[in-house]
C-alpha cells in the first residue's frame, strides 16, 4: 500500500514537472544560480582557510639581510638562528634565487624587474619553526633577539599572513552566506509561486480528487515532492556548475593568475558541503511548496 502510494506520488510529481516544464526550468535556473553563488563563496572560503591552516602548520620566519655587508659579517646571524631551540630548519636564499622565484611567480611583473638593471632582492634566511603551536610571545622574543643584529634589515613572520588569510576566508563565507541567503530566499519565493500556479492550473483535478474521497495528504504530497525535487535538482546542478567553474577558471585565466593560483589552489567543495547544497535545495523547495499549498490549496 505504502509502495503503491509512493509510486503514485512520484509519478504525479514527475508528470507535473514535465507538464509545466517551462515554469520549472526558470525556477530551476534561479535556484541553481543561488546555490552557485553560495558554492563559489564556500569554495573560496575553503581555499583560503586551507591555505591559512597550511601556513599556520608550517610557521616560517624570513630574515632579510643587508646585501651590502660582506658574507662573513652575515654569518653570525645564521649561527645565532641555528642555536635557538625553536628552530626546525634554516635555509639561506641568495638574491639570484629570490629573483628567479619572483619572476616565476609573477611573470607579468618580469619587465619591471629586468628594467631596473639590478637585482632588488636582498639575501635572506628562511627559518621553519619546529613546533607550529609555539606561543607567539616566544617566537616574537626570538625574532627580536635576531633583529638586534645590524646585518638584519627586516623580518617577515607568516603567522600575520595566516591570520589575514583566515580572516579573508571568514569574510568570504560571510559574503557567500549573505548573497546566497538572499538568493535562496528568492528561490523559496519562486518555488512557492510556481507551485501556486500549478495548484491553480490543476484546480479542477484537485476538485475531482476531493470528490472521489482523496485525503488531504494524498492531494498535497505530490506538490511537496515536486518542490523538493525541484530544489534538490537546483542544488545538484549548482554543484556541477561550481565544479566546472573551479576546473575551467584557472585553465581559462592561465598564467595571469601567477602566485594567486598557488595561493588559492582552487579546491572544490567538501563532500559535506556538496551534500548540504543538495539537501538544502530540497529543503528550500519543500518549504516553498508547503507555504504555497498552505495558502492556496484549501481542501
Amino acid at each position: 500500500m505504502i509502495l503503491r502510494r509512493s509510486r503514485y506520488f512520484v509519478r504525479e510529481a514527475a508528470r507535473n514537472l514535465w507538464h509545466f516544464k517551462t515554469r520549472h526550468a526558470i525556477s530551476l535556473a534561479i535556484i541553481c544560480l543561488s546555490f552557485v553563488i553560495l558554492g563559489v563563496f564556500l569554495c573560496l572560503s575553503n581555499n583560503l582557510r586551507e591555505r591559512a591552516r597550511a601556513m599556520a602548520q608550517n610557521l616560517a620566519v624570513v630574515f632579510y639581510l643587508d646585501g651590502n655587508m660582506p658574507a662573513a659579517e652575515r654569518l653570525p646571524v645564521e649561527e645565532e638562528i641555528r642555536r635557538s631551540p625553536l628552530v626546525g630548519s634554516v635555509r639561506e636564499v641568495a638574491p639570484d634565487e629570490a629573483s628567479a622565484r619572483f619572476l616565476r611567480d609573477f611573470p607579468d611583473l618580469k619587465e619591471i624587474v629586468l628594467n631596473l638593471g639590478l637585482n632588488p632582492f636582498p639575501p635572506s634566511i628562511e627559518v621553519s619553526l619546529k613546533d607550529p603551536s609555539t606561543p607567539a610571545e616566544a617566537i616574537l622574543g626570538f625574532i627580536e633577539g635576531i633583529k638586534r643584529n645590524p646585518a638584519v634589515r627586516d623580518v617577515q613572520f607568516n603567522r600575520d599572513w595566516a591570520d589575514k588569510i583566515a580572516s579573508l576566508g571568514r569574510i568570504a563565507t560571510a559574503i557567500g552566506l549573505f548573497f546566497g541567503g538572499i538568493l535562496v530566499l528568492a528561490a523559496f519565493i519562486i518555488i512557492s509561486n510556481v507551485i501556486k500556479l500549478i495548484v491553480i492550473a490543476r484546480k479542477s483535478e484537485i476538485e475531482i480528487l476531493r470528490l472521489v474521497g482523496a485525503t488531504n495528504t494524498f492531494i498535497r504530497v505530490p506538490f511537496l515532492l515536486e518542490g523538493t525535487i525541484l530544489g534538490a535538482a537546483g542544488g545538484l546542478l549548482s554543484i556541477v556548475l561550481v565544479f566546472g567553474l573551479i576546473r575551467l577558471f584557472p585553465a581559462a585565466a592561465g598564467q595571469t593568475l601567477g602566485a594567486l593560483q598557488e595561493l588559492i589552489g582552487f579546491r572544490f567543495l567538501t563532500f559535506g558541503q556538496s551534500l548540504a547544497l543538495v539537501v538544502g535545495g530540497g529543503f528550500v523547495g519543500f518549504l516553498g511548496s508547503l507555504s504555497s499549498i498552505a495558502r492556496f490549496l484549501r481542501i
Partner: protein, 221 residues
C-alpha cells in the same frame, strides 16, 4: 441512508436557498429531486456530499452525522458515494482508464484489482472499447458515461447526480437515466436532480419537488 432534519441554507441575506428541508431516502431507493432553476436542487445535493455546510439543521449519511465530521475527515463520507455532475468534471487530457481509476487510486487499490474494476465499470456503461482513448476525444454522451463509471467503480452505497443529463439530447438523456436505473437495481441508493419532467414521467420513482428552497412533497405526474 440519507436523512436531513430541518435544513436551512442562506448564502446571502435575506434569501434562503433552502428553507426547513427535511427528508429521508431509504437504502436502495431511487429518488428524484426536481424543481425549476434556482429552487435549491444543487444546494441540496451539495449539502449531501458536504460541499456546502447548511446554516442550520442536521444531516445523517449512512448513519454518520456529517456536520460533526472535521473537514479533514470528509473523505470518509465521500468514499461511500459516487457523484455525477452536469459538466462531467473529467480530466479531459487523460485517458478514459485514468479518469475512472482515479476513484480507486485514492483508496490505494492494487493495480491489477484497479484494472479489473475499471473494466467492469466501463462495461456497465458500455464503454469498455474506449478504455485507452483520451476523454477529450469522446462525445458528450460518452463523457457522461465515463463520469458515471467513475462514480460507480468503487461500488458506492449512494449515487448522487446533479442534472446529469443537462448537457445531453433527449435520446442520450434517456439512455443515461436507464443506466442509473440499472445501477439502482444492484442495490445502490440513487438521488438524482433534474428539471426534465418528460424523463420523470418516463422513469417514475419517488419525486421530491423543491420550489424557492422549500420541499413541496411528491410532485404530481
Amino acid at each position: 441512508m440519507i436523512e436531513l432534519f430541518h435544513v436551512w441554507k442562506q448564502y446571502q441575506k435575506p434569501l434562503w436557498a433552502l428553507s426547513d428541508v427535511s427528508l429521508s431516502v431509504k437504502k436502495g431507493e431511487f429518488c428524484f429531486i426536481t424543481g425549476p432553476s434556482g429552487s435549491g436542487k444543487s444546494t441540496l445535493i451539495k449539502i449531501m456530499y458536504r460541499e456546502v455546510v447548511p446554516t442550520e439543521g442536521q444531516i445523517i449519511i449512512a448513519g454518520k452525522n456529517v456536520l460533526k465530521l472535521p473537514s479533514h475527515r470528509i473523505y470518509t463520507i465521500r468514499r461511500q458515494m459516487g457523484i455525477v455532475f452536469q459538466d462531467f468534471r473529467l480530466l479531459f487530457h487523460k485517458r478514459v482508464f485514468d479518469n475512472v481509476a482515479v476513484a480507486l487510486q485514492v483508496l490505494g487499490s492494487p493495480v491489477r484489482d484497479m484494472k479489473r474494476k475499471v473494466f467492469i465499470a466501463l462495461r456497465m456503461v458500455n464503454l469498455q472499447n474506449k478504455i485507452w482513448e483520451e476523454a477529450a476525444s469522446l462525445s458528450y454522451g460518452e463523457q457522461q458515461r465515463v463520469a458515471i463509471a467513475r462514480a460507480i467503480v468503487n461500488n458506492p452505497r449512494i449515487l448522487l447526480a446533479d442534472e446529469p443529463t443537462g448537457n445531453l439530447d433527449p435520446d442520450l438523456a434517456h439512455e443515461i437515466f436507464g443506466l442509473f436505473r440499472e445501477i439502482n437495481k444492484q442495490g445502490t441508493t440513487v438521488v438524482l436532480c433534474t428539471h426534465d419532467k418528460e424523463l420523470l414521467r418516463r422513469f417514475g420513482g419517488r419525486v421530491l419537488a423543491l420550489h424557492e428552497g422549500k420541499l413541496l412533497g411528491r410532485e404530481p405526474r
